[in-house]
Symmetry: C2
Subunit: 122 residues, 2 copies
DNA sequence: TCGAACCCTCACATACATGTGAAGGTCTAC
DNA sequence: GTAGACCTTCACATGTATGTGAGGGTTCGA
């Protein structure tokens, strides 16, 4: 598919899709006319990238963790350097902490909303 | 306590503490000499703000949700406007989605790391 | 009383994700 | 063949969270 369709299906501007490609987060083949051509799985990948960006990860980190997420392991394990393993472990833990923080605060908000509803009901 | 101690105890630069104050996320009283003076609970508040910032929330939103998190409800329920309630519900759900995304990807990374370890063990 | 280590404000700089628009090529339908 | 809707690259702009440093006041110990 071309960039316009991908943009529409992922709710992402064309500008950003080109930016993600520049950052190495997605890849696009090119038609004879120079137009980008995306395959179907790119839709999910873009959505995933957006989710991670929204959760505070920079593109640099996203680029590093993306290869781990491909269903049929596209990355050869021997290529995994010790530094890369360390980075992944670090990010794994950091994501867990972030999620904890979000859930804790989400619960607090929910609790507050319940209290407000209770207050207004009486 | 003064800004230096708060900075050290929260692992946050002085510059940022002043910025958070400017954004209305923390408050400081002033000594006769103009120095900022923070009370003990501000330590936890700063840590919480940092966690939320790291999880992708902008200061504008953090400012809105912080009042809900104070232990003895400092905010009077009647002050909660419908728009504010709507915002809070929206952010609550958004935070849940973010946390889901983080945990999903965290699991994928963990799974990958396990596979690598398995590969290297054999 | 001097110097070090604080504090203040203000301003400019930077990285990153994003927007916007110009200048121009391609494709399709009328 | 021409108009409109695509696409390309390139460049400049913006908002947000940060860093850095200048210029200057305060406090405290030697």
């Amino acid at each position: 598919m071309r960039i316009g369709e991908l943009a529409e299906r992922t709710g992402t501007s064309r500008r950003l899709l080109r930016y993600y490609e520049e950052q190495g987060l997605i890849i696009a083949s090119r038609g004879a006319n120079g137009y980008r051509d995306y395959d179907e799985p790119t839709v999910d990948r873009v959505i995933q990238v957006r989710g991670l960006l929204d959760a505070g990860l920079p593109t640099r980190i996203i680029k590093q963790i993306l290869p781990c997420l491909d269903k049929p392991r596209a990355i050869y394990f021997p290529d995994a350097t010790p530094e890369m393993i360390a980075t992944l472990e670090q990010e794994r833990d950091r994501m867990a902490r972030r999620a904890e923080c979000l859930l804790r605060n989400r619960d607090a908000i929910a609790e507050y909303l319940d209290a407000v509803r209770e207050y207004n009901r009486v």
